[in-house]
Every structure is written in structure tokens, then in C-alpha cells.
Symmetry: C2
């Protein structure tokens, strides 16, 4: 490809709306162009990158015996009614009617379509297990698209679905798929992506993992243990609190706490520890508006996903009215007479002597002992694990919270879809049984953005050679100089003959502009043909990441470039390790 | 691939709703499954076929310097408002609102998206010409989907868009693209697909061609001249009528024609020639309901696309009321007093002595001479060309009408989109100019269906080796016989090592069922390993089209199969000719 002919525009200024680097570079480098909020067209370089990623994904899916199929983007609403998701999923499912007034949806995941396709083939046990996948456009009507290809409305996703006759078989396949995912991220040049235990959310099912790139720009919070290597997303990490060594039981007393608006204010005013306070967070059930009050240790926060999972119902922050009987700012568990559901978080368990609201304006209790003063209560885990907290795996106080970007996920779905959609098979004993399912997704565009997020400098992306749009970028510093031009063309032709994809900057532009564009396009190997060096019989060979920078005799440049390309491939591919 | 593991079901009975063979085989052979009316999932074999077709298309697009990009499926309505198509296109454009009530559409073609993407790059003359393409899902809300992948609502299409600074440059590129199309169809094994001149319809523009597979099952009518090779679709073919040698001028007389309901009845009753009669076909403009009466020779039919193009307005069949003043069944051009637009078709030109309606129930005129009795009128071409008619190219009476399926099309768009969407470039002289555009489409799934339609027998598809899902199909007649199984596995392994895609029927099924499935899966080369022949040291090698059927010594079978595969490729690829 000659750069003078490459469709796309590149520019210097960071666009104001680009919060993260990968977004800024993808706009500045002529990779993507926004068509609507969260909807993008891809210019040739990004199309090439996504194709390179898709090729890796296809090879790894084939290696785990998954067969490529294609599901529609537009699906009948009736299919989603079979699974119950037509009504259970929120506004992110785009629903519309076709010209015949038939309800349709835009596929955001394809569990229903997979069951629909597999139902006939899956009628007999002899055909199990099997796995199918597609790489196809999906649409999720995000309320707040952001960060370029990270959170979009329309995206290309690889989604695989496997079908099994036993949990053991699913477990085995799930492990093979986890291994496949680990290989995909390694081959795509981001071994940094890690698997974390996750909450299954809308998709359903029990066991699931997310593949996360740790990055400050991420929107997810990931719990990591530096001691044992435990990892989970916030929703899936059990909170363990150590309340040993706290103040012994005391007398329950009501005290005046004027002008104390937060639990921190109260503790300061009373000179007590926040770790021995009990705060209240108030919600209402979305469906009935019933109040739900969560009591938890003053220094902890409610994890709303855990709360939702515990209640099996969605909630919103409470609007506290006078009639509710709740006293905002002074709500406490002792003599709580308001009509509401009360939840005690595990963080309170074991504290003998608590400070809490007295359900009366400007008053708190001190010396509350829940067991003595309220009785036996059930403690449940609805709080967020904290930095420095106790690892649920090794028990050490070694928890660290990181931000992360989700690049993929794998789920054990159980029979959620097969049962609701009436998929059965005849077992060996002649009885009808319901198969169990797994599903496995990777966002192709988001992975491209993750790779850029993980591998860039302040001038642009540094694409790993396996996904780079071109492997070699030739900068011809003086296209109007015959020697420079001929040498550049010679290298261009010879490398292409070897099957190497080359971008050749054949434009008559200043060196600064030429290098700025080369940095933005991020090809891993660069060959710079300049008149001075060439007069000395030399050409420059370097890598985008600056780890290599050599002068090479012009007669050796083609062979040396090929060697460097091979080395970069080997650095990635030879290190690909199967998961233990 | 082992057939025992291939996801999909095959069966014997032709589904009742399958009118054409390619549809029946694609359902019976486990290629596609309907998800909704005109919306299909693809099973692995069809996914492979479409990928093979896409690979050919990509190579040929690259060869004409088109760069692959990707546009969104979901587009903002505002983009289509820029071009005017948001309102001008009918119900086949699916419009809906997103969660923020923003009007959106599902892309059916991507001219607007192409201009949107190219607008920035196309700001300077120096970047022209350039061409971009995508292979992506599209949606057209067809009122009557039919015939499997032939007329669907959701489909995968390659659409390319080129941008030029002069008509000459567009002409040149259009020719290159036409050549590319011809190569694509040849390489895909359907040299039968021909280019025909077409009407541009909704897309707009002037010069355009459709690529048609002649097939009785097609929904389009194609005009062919057996003498000179002229071809066009019905809308684009000029009708020439030879009225020399007709009856000389006579006296105009009103005659009673009781119970004559059609022009044929009248001619029979009066014993005159239909070729010397003038019939009326009545329409109303969609917008104003104004009546439009077309007079044409009794044996001709109105071509409504030609009429619409002439009027530059859409029409519907007239509802003739009493107030209209029109007398249905007796409408004629002489003393026509009704308020209506009158059109004389060219088929009437030169007839001296006509029979026509007298605008009075049960009365006709005979002896009408338009020039003498009505005066000078303008004759326009709004009728359908007929079999045996005069070729507009060579003038010989050699026109034949065939049915055809459109597999692709190419259009010269002019400035329709660039002008309306404000795309301009700075010309060499510094002035702002509007680029001109071409667009070029191929329906991938429809092409797959066309290939099947052109190449099948009564047992299933006969896939050309270039697009076949697997190149070789091994039938192991006795998987429970060690010698048969080992021989089959050996062939399977060796061919795969050579990079040949092989389907291995490793099931324990009857010979009839095994061959029926092999016929339905249509792989071009078949290797049959049976116990009897193997005992004699032989294996059968044949082609799906039965042109080859050999017994081969078992030690030679791998080499001979490879040779046959190479020969089949050569038969297609060596014959690929560039267009003259």
C-alpha cells in the first residue's frame, strides 16, 4: 500500500472529546470515524487490524472444534420471548417493528439464535458435545457510549455457544475455551489480559469469567490479590471483614449529635472509630417502591449488583418521604419502626459496640450491640470489597482494586436458554433431557482498542506484529531523489514478494510530518531511506517501540528487515503458552 | 471435518414452501435455517461457501485498488436526510427510533455512509480517484421475501464506492470494475452470469449494468438479442416497433361492439388485426390522483418503470369513477374529453388505420388515423419489448426475453450523493468542485444461491471447486471395517496435510443415505472407500458432476485425488478471461 493512496486523514490535535489514548489515536490516526453516537465507520487500517484479530480468533475457535456459522443481526421478537429476555432486558435491547408490524430486535447477543439453529441437530445425545460460533455485527443501545471502540452501540463480536449433556462435559469444554482465550490474547499481543471471576449479569448462568486488560481508563473495577493471584470483578468478590480486636460491649445510650450530616461527622463529633459505626443506605424496589435499608459498617459501600442478586429484584436510590417513617441521616437498626426491608451487611458482624442513627433528627446511639439489643439477625454480603481488604481465597490482607477494560468473557449458562426454549435431546436411555450450554464472547473492535491502550507511547499506537495493519513502514525521505525513490521501491517490491504487508510513504512531505504519520500508523518495523545515509550505502532499520535502531548496508536491508519481522513474530508466537 | 460432527440436519423431502431448486437444496442440505420471514441463519457449509466467495471478491477488489473499510449497519436518519433518501425511499427502508428517540435506519445500501467516510479524505484533487468497499450485513424490509437466499430481508453484500474528478476517469474505472465483476463470476464458477444494461432505479445515476444469471426461477426479465448479443433489462430496453405494411388510411366510423370486453374481443368481433388496434391503459399519479391514460398498440404492454421515468412520478392503476369522464373498456384517443394526461406509445407510430374505443359504452371507432383525426402527437416509449421484437442495437427481429436472477450491479451515480451531501474538493485551479461517484454491489448469499441454481442435478448442488465448502468428500462405506476405516483416515490425513479441505463421512449409515448426503453437500470430488474394491487394492475416485468415475490403485489414490482437485481448479481459473 502506498501511503499517498491510503483513504483516511491523520492530524496532530487531540480531539477534545477523547478521554482515553486509544480513542484519541484511533481518531487522529485515520482508523475510525464516528457516524452517530457510539457508531463508527472503520477506515482501512482499522479494518485490517480487526481482520487480523478475527483470523487469530478463527484459528483458535477451529482448534477447539467450534464450527463457524452466521446468525442474523435482525431477530424476531418472538424468539426473545421464548427465552423471556424480550421483556427482561432493558432499553439496551433495541426493539422495533417491521413493515408488517411484527416485533423485531437487533441482536445484542445470540443465545436464542444459537438454540434456534442447534435445536434440530441437538435432538440426539450422539451429536453432543458441539460448539458453534460467529463473528458478526451486534447492536446494544447503550445509554452512554464512550471511549471510541471501548463502549459502542454497534460492534463486531465473536460469540460461541457450546452444548453438552453433562456438567462435567461443560466443565471440560469451558477449560478448553479458557485456554483458547488465553492463547487468543497472547497471540494478539496482549498477554496482559487476565481472566477474572465474574458475576453473570443479564446473560444468566453460574460460573463465568471476564477477560480484563488492567488499565486506568477502564470502566470496570477488578479485585486482585497480590499474595495468591486471586482475581474477580467487584460483583463476584466476596467481602470478608475482620472485626476482631474492636471495643468491648458497653452501655446503649442515645446522644445528641447536632449538625452531623455524615457518619464521618458523627464519629468525629463523638470521637469514635468509623470502623465501629453502622451506617444506613436506603433503596426502593423498582417494582413496588418498597423501602430497603442496608446497614453496613461506616467505612464500607454497598455493591448494588450484590444487593440486586440477593434480592433478586432491581432497586433504585430511595426517595425518602415523610410518610415513609424513615429519618434520613439518622436511620439506625435499633427501634427502626418504618415499614421497610432491613438488611445487615456482613461488615457489621462481630462488632460489639456500635454507633448508629437513632431514627430521630440530631440523635445517634452509642454502645449498640446488635445481638443484645436487636437479637439474632442474618448477615449477608452486599458490600464492596476494599483495597487492603481480606482476600477471599488466601485470607491475607492483600486485596488491590484495579480498573480494567473487558475484552471478552466466558459463561456457563446451564439450562437457562435450552429449558425456556424447549430444546431437548433423546438420551442414551431413551428419555428426553435438556442440554446445558456455555457461551463465549470477544469484542473484536474493543480488543483492538485494548491492544492500543496497552501498547502505545505519546505519539501513537505500537501495534504487535500479529495484528498490525502493515508489518513494515517504509519512509522515503526524498521521493524526488532518484536514488532514494528507487531504493524504497526496491525494498517495497521485494518485501511484498515475500508476502510481507508493507506501507510505503511515497509522499513529498517534511520529515516531521512523515514520522508523525508513521508513529500514528504504528507499524512495528520501520525502514527509513534517507539521502545522506544512502550515499554511505546505508538504510535505517528500526522498530516502532525503539528497541531496535540500526544502520544496515543497503544490500542487506531486505534480508535484515525480513529477519526482524520474523523475530517479532517469534517473540509473540513462541511465547504462547497453554493455560495450566 | 468429520461428517458425524458437522452441525446441521439433512433430509429427503422437498419442503412445500420451496419453489426453486437452490432454496430446496439449501434447506434440505443443512445450509440455511429460516429465523423469520426472509431472515436466515447459516449453517457451517453455507458459511464456508460465502467465505470462499468473499475471498474471491476481496482479491478482485484489491486488484482494482479498492480499499476495504466497514460501515455501520445502523445509521442515523439524519445521514439519509442529507441525500434525501430518508423520505424518498419506501417501506423497504427500515426506520426506527433509538432509546433517545433519534431516528435511525438499517442500511440497505451505503452511498451516504461512503460519502460520510470519504468526505474528509476527498478534500483535495490530489487524492482522486479512490475506491472503498465493505462486505457487511444489510437489511431491506422486503414486502415479499422468497426463494431462500434469492430475495431476503437481511443479506451480506459487497458494496464498493468510487470517487472521481471527471466523467472520463469514472468511465475508465467503471470498465475496470466491470472487468473485475466478470472475473469474480468466472472464478466463482458461474461464467453464465452476464452483464445487462439496466435502469438505475432508486440508487440514481445514468449508466448502469446488472449481472444476471439466466434462470427460469428468476424474477427479472432480461432482453437478449441472439443476433448481436445485445442485453438489457426490460426497463432499459428501447422498444422499436415496425408498423410498415399495415392497412392504408380509411374512413373513420363509429361502430357498435356489444359485449366486447377486451381489445382482442373487439378485433375478433370486427375482424380486424390486433396489431392495428389502439388500447388504453389507465393510471393515476400517486401524489395528485390525476389520471394518466396510455394509448398503445393492442398487443403491447405498458412498462411501468419506463412510464414512471418518463413522468418522473410514481403511478398506480386507476380507479375509474363516474366523475372522471373516462369510460372503462371503451376509452379511446379520439374525442377524449376527460380531464387526464394522455400519452401515445411509440408502438402506435406509423399505423394508418386504427380501431379504438369511442369513449361510449359498447362503441368503438374503426379507421382512426391519428395524424389526420387528432393531429401531431408526441410518441414516447413506455411499452415492454417483446419476444421476436426488433433489437435496439442491430435492428434485427431477434429479441428473446429470458428470466434472470440479479447477482450484482454496477452504477455510475454522477453527483447525486456528493452534491446533496455537500462533498467537494479543491481542484488544481483552486476552485471547489463536486466529485462524481460510482457504486458496485454483489449479494454474497444470492450469488451462492445463483451458483447452486446454475449447477445442480436432481439430487443436490454441484459446487464449483473454488467455492465448495470442502473440495473432497470421503465416503467410508464400512466404518466398522478396519481396512476401510484405516484407508479412509489415511486419505483424510494426507489430503489435509496438502492443504485440501476434506469432508470425511465417518458415520455408520447405509450406502443410500451416505450417497444422498454426499449429493446434498455437493463437494466436487468424491473418494469412495468400499470393502470389495479395497480387497482388490482399489478405491473409487469420482466427481460430483459424474464427468469422472475411476477405480484407482489404493497407493495412488492420494496423488490422483490431488491431481483431480488441481485439474478442477485449473478448469475454472485458467479460463478466467479479462473482458474485452
Amino acid at each position: 500500500m502506498k501511503l499517498s493512496k491510503l483513504v483516511g486523514v491523520r492530524f496532530k490535535e487531540r480531539p477534545a472529546d477523547c478521554v482515553i489514548d486509544s480513542h484519541a489515536f484511533s481518531v487522529r490516526g485515520g482508523y475510525i470515524k464516528q457516524v452517530s453516537n457510539g457508531i463508527f465507520s472503520l477506515y482501512p487500517p482499522m479494518k485490517k487490524i480487526t481482520q487480523n484479530i478475527e483470523k487469530i480468533i478463527r484459528e483458535e475457535m477451529d482448534a477447539v472444534d467450534s464450527q463457524e456459522v452466521m446468525f442474523p443481526v435482525v431477530l424476531p421478537g418472538s424468539l426473545w420471548e421464548e427465552s423471556g429476555r424480550y421483556t427482561s432486558v432493558g432499553d439496551e435491547l433495541l426493539r422495533f417493528k417491521d413493515r408488517n408490524d411484527t416485533p423485531m430486535v437487533l441482536g445484542m447477543t445470540h443465545e436464542e439464535a444459537a438454540v434456534h439453529l442447534a435445536r434440530d441437530y441437538g435432538r440426539t445425545y450422539a451429536n453432543y458435545p458441539f460448539s458453534i460460533y460467529q463473528i458478526q455485527t451486534k447492536y446494544r443501545d447503550e445509554a452512554r457510549p464512550r471511549a471510541g471502540l471501548i463502549r459502542v452501540r454497534e460492534f463486531t463480536m465473536k460469540d460461541a455457544y457450546s452444548f453438552h449433556t453433562s456438567q462435567e462435559d461443560l466443565d471440560q469444554y469451558y477449560d478448553r475455551m479458557a485456554n483458547s482465550y488465553s492463547r487468543i490474547f497472547q497471540r494478539a499481543g496482549v498477554p496482559e489480559v487476565i481472566a477474572v471471576k465474574s458475576d453473570s449479569g443479564m446473560i444468566g448462568g453460574s460460573v463465568s469469567h471476564e477477560y480484563m486488560l488492567l488499565a486506568d481508563a477502564g470502566e470496570d473495577s477488578i479485585v486482585l490479590c497480590d499474595e495468591c493471584g486471586y482475581s474477580a470483578n467487584m460483583e463476584a468478590a466476596d467481602t470478608t471483614v475482620d472485626n476482631s480486636g474492636c471495643t468491648p460491649m458497653g452501655e446503649l445510650k442515645k446522644v445528641n449529635t447536632p449538625n452531623c450530616k455524615s457518619i464521618e461527622d458523627v464519629c468525629k463529633f463523638l470521637n469514635t472509630k468509623v470502623e465501629e459505626s453502622c451506617k444506613a443506605v436506603m433503596y426502593q424496589l423498582n417494582e413496588t417502591d418498597e423501602y430497603v435499608v442496608v446497614f453496613l459498617r461506616g467505612d464500607y459501600e454497598v455493591n448494588e449488583t450484590k444487593l440486586t442478586n440477593y434480592l433478586d429484584a432491581k432497586v433504585h436510590a430511595a426517595v425518602v418521604t415523610e410518610e415513609s417513617g424513615l429519618v434520613a441521616g439518622f436511620c439506625g437498626p435499633y427501634k427502626q419502626d418504618a415499614k421497610c426491608k432491613v438488611i445487615f451487611d456482613k461488615s457489621l458482624e462481630g462488632i460489639e459496640n456500635l454507633c448508629c442513627g437513632a431514627n430521630e433528627v440530631d440523635y445517634h446511639y452509642v454502645g449498640l450491640n446488635i445481638k443484645r439489643d436487636i437479637g439474632d439477625v442474618e448477615y449477608v454480603d452486599v458490600s464492596k470489597i476494599q483495597t487492603g481488604g481480606i482476600c477471599p481465597c488466601c485470607g491475607k490482607k492483600a486485596i488491590r482494586i484495579s480498573r480494567g477494560i473487558e475484552a471478552g468473557n466466558i459463561f456457563q449458562l446451564g439450562t437457562k436458554y435450552t429449558k425456556s426454549m424447549g430444546m431437548t435431546y433423546t438420551a442414551e436411555d431413551g428419555t428426553a433431557k435438556t442440554p446445558i450450554m456455555g457461551c463465549y464472547g470477544i469484542g473484536v473492535g474493543r480488543l483492538a482498542a485494548c491492544i492500543c491502550e496497552a501498547h502505545h507511547d505519546d505519539k501513537g499506537p505500537i501495534w504487535p506484529i500479529t495484528v498490525a495493519p502493515w508489518k513494515v513502514h517504509i519512509c522515503c525521505m526524498r521521493i524526488d531523489d532518484d536514488a532514494c525513490r528507487e531504493m524504497s521501491e526496491h525494498i517495497y517490491d521485494e518485501l511484498q514478494k515475500m508476502g510481507i504487508e508493507v506501507l510505503f510513504d511515497d509522499r513529498k512531505v517534511r520529515a516531521g510530518a512523515m514520522f508523525a504519520d508513521a508513529d500514528l500508523l504504528g507499524c512495528p518495523v520501520r525502514v527509513t531511506v534517507g539521502p545522506k545515509a544512502l550515499a554511505n550505502g546505508e538504510v535505517e532499520l528500526s522498530t516502532r517501540d525503539k528497541s531496535v535502531s540500526l544502520k544496515v548496508a543497503k544490500d542487506d536491508i531486505v534480508a535484515e528487515t525480513k529477519k526482524l519481522v520474523d523475530t517479532l513474530y517469534a517473540q509473540i508466537n513462541e511465547k504462547v503458552q497453554d493455560r495450566k
